[in-house]
Symmetry: none
Subunit: 412 residues, 2 copies
């Protein structure tokens, strides 16, 4: 079954306005396990509204339209709906009387344009609007349901909550469940390859793979007619996905990699220091975004120049002379220096070429050496990250934090 | 003429995700005087995508589709577009070679699913994607234009700016001009009050005030049928706005405060060091986001604990004992320490309470002391910033950078 939401209003086609009505409807429908298949946003003028209603009647089973029921000339949802359905409009004196009564309570005469709001699509059921003058309309046609809702958000909510949601829930009552699995260290394609076999098993569950730099998230959802039944299918699929993805999984909804690392450090009663060259403080910034990080993060060095690397971190200038500032030896010396100087249990060091300049054949832009010094020795990695300067910085910080997460979690 | 934007992605039909791609496209089309008639948001699965492409070919003259060009099984825009147009798909070995080359530069093999991205709609022109693996596609059919764009925002922007916008502007025969004025240090209301008198004068120009934490931007636009005429009106209004806003203006489109500071330091031949407590490396991170910042930024300290403040920055423990780590005296000592130790001309130091815990009656959450040490002495400020931890960190870094910008620009 397909549900479509149509938001009507030229102002919604500007980059500054948010169509909050549709987001609200999506959320409330999601609460009863009903996903929305399409959202359409169309202006008040031109042929777009009627064309959208016609196509919605082809595509969707339930159509919710928000807006365009006001009193003015650019409110044309009534006319467009009648036309798209091949029906007429009917004047309802009882609606006009209700509007007049509303004005009377406010001790004002009804403005003439409000008369327009007393017209309804032939055969429509009127949905009372306790918060404004335009009633909603419930129209059934050929097994499909078309609901017209007023556009002002509090009016739309009033009509939807009182007259629409209960009926839709009764017709389609579904129980819904949802999970997010966050991974790092794998590309979208690698994730896809690992979980490909599970697609046939995913059955009625929704499964979306969402990639952003340094992270691939899986969104899993399930809905069903019986309470608990959706949860069982969801947990079953989510469990299999986590098994396949293994140690690449670092958390669920709302888990940032830095908050996972801070939690692991706190659980281990361990402290951390950083020494950053190419990331320029980003690792420290991310760690200190986590409330309570001051209990485990002692501090860091942004050793951008070679002099700072020698003076603050005790990196032997002959290492930089022989191997260069971007080298495994320099990264290791930086990590040991930060660990010793801060008196920390762990230290992360990064040195690399963030670009756009400074690359060479043997040391290209994006090359980063990461070293992790810990209570039981050192790990170092050489990586080449793609992208522009800020992406290289972010991917470097992501990998550094993940190296620490893996060590703290005992992952080989 | 009707323009429609179609955003593809099931995640965009959740109440949590914002379809920023469509907002961006609406903004850029608006810049060249082209309004969007309809926005559609449709999921990856089911018949919705193809149905939406079919209805768009009926309704719109130009159709921009964002998303669904990725490598995985739920990326189906290529297939749906071919099907809606009644065309086939063609495998392009040259695209596969370009994707393989991209992986080679990262020293990784191309994952098998990425092969899917080498298929294009029969007759489509390939639009190179400098930022990712999926090229865009430009398809003309029956006098209509269908453009397929990759979904990751930076990729969509890259392809749109380089290959799509110039062509659409040429066909739309509008000359448009646009300016952005960026300010910091004023609230949105203060900006409104300063420019209120200019609203009647703005005439046919578009003027939008856009506030984000620590920054208020003004977007000015003008369009017309004759080249040059729009520019004249735009420059006239933008000049008056800049006059009104005075020293709060720090740059234009694409100018970040940190890039302005790096440019001013380079012009002055001066160097900078940082000492951060509450901002945890954010000031250094922002500075090192600027290409070429290594010539002026010597490095920094993330002195999160008091021991680090004493050891690395030479802050006298008796100052912290008497005044507290969050005090003007501590900030000043940190700035002097970083300046001396790094041998820099300037040093910025920040110490404060980012929250959510750690506040008191006299030192509330959001309190920050910022000190700027320079060749001709020290400036210090006490501020209390609103918001959550990350906002307090950002606003602190913004004010610190602006203090330096003002000193370097000779603004009182």
């Amino acid at each position: 079954m397909n549900i479509e939401i149509i938001a009507v209003g030229t102002e919604l086609l500007s980059p500054r306005f948010t169509d909050t009505n549709s987001l609200y409807l999506i959320e409330r429908l999601g609460d009863i396990g009903l996903p929305v298949a399409r959202r359409t946003i169309v202006g008040d003028w031109g042929e777009g509204l009627e064309a959208s209603l016609r196509r919605a009647m082809d595509f969707a089973d339930w159509i919710l339209v928000g807006g365009g029921l006001g009193p003015t000339g650019d409110d044309r949802t009534r006319e467009a709906a009648a036309s798209a359905l091949g029906r007429g409009l009917v004047f309802r004196p009882d609606i006009q009387a209700a509007i007049e009564e509303r004005f009377r309570r406010r001790e004002r005469p009804m403005a003439e344009p409000n008369r327009r709001q007393a017209w309804i699509v032939e055969g429509a059921e009127v949905l009372p609007n306790g918060a404004g003058t335009a009633p909603g309309q419930w129209i059934e046609s050929g097994g499909k349901i078309l609901v017209l809702l007023p556009g002002p958000p509090h009016e739309l909510k009033t009509v939807f909550e009182s007259s629409v949601l209960p009926r839709l829930a009764a017709r389609g009552r579904r129980h819904a469940s949802r999970a997010v699995i966050r991974t790092t260290g794998l590309t979208e394609s690698e994730v896809e390859a690992l979980i490909a076999e599970l697609y046939p098993e995913s059955g009625d569950c929704g499964l979306t793979v969402l990639a952003s730099p340094g992270r691939v998230d899986l969104h899993v959802s399930a809905s069903g007619e019986k309470a608990g039944e959706a949860e069982v299918r969801l947990n079953n699929l989510a469990g299999k996905l986590r098994d396949r993805l293994g140690s690449a999984v670092y958390g669920g909804q709302d888990d940032e990699l830095e908050s996972v690392v801070v939690r692991l450090l706190r659980e281990a009663g361990a402290t951390l220091a950083t020494a950053e060259s190419c990331t320029g403080g980003l690792v420290a910034h991310r760690l200190t975004n986590v409330p309570g990080s001051s209990r485990v993060f002692l501090g860091g060095y942004v050793a951008y120049g070679n002099a700072a690397k020698a003076r603050d971190l005790g990196v032997d200038p002959s290492i930089i002379e022989a191997e260069g500032a971007v080298s495994e030896a320099a990264a290791a010396a930086m990590a040991f220096g930060a660990k010793r100087r801060m008196g920390a249990d762990w230290a992360l060091a990064l040195t690399g070429i963030a670009g756009p300049d400074g690359g060479s054949e043997s040391k290209p832009v994006g090359l980063v050496h990461i070293a992790l010094a810990g209570p039981d020795g050192m790990t170092a990695e050489r990586r080449v990250f793609p992208g522009l300067r800020e992406t290289v910085k972010f991917l470097s910080s992501q990998r550094a934090l993940d190296m620490l997460r893996r060590r703290l979690s005992g992952i080989a």
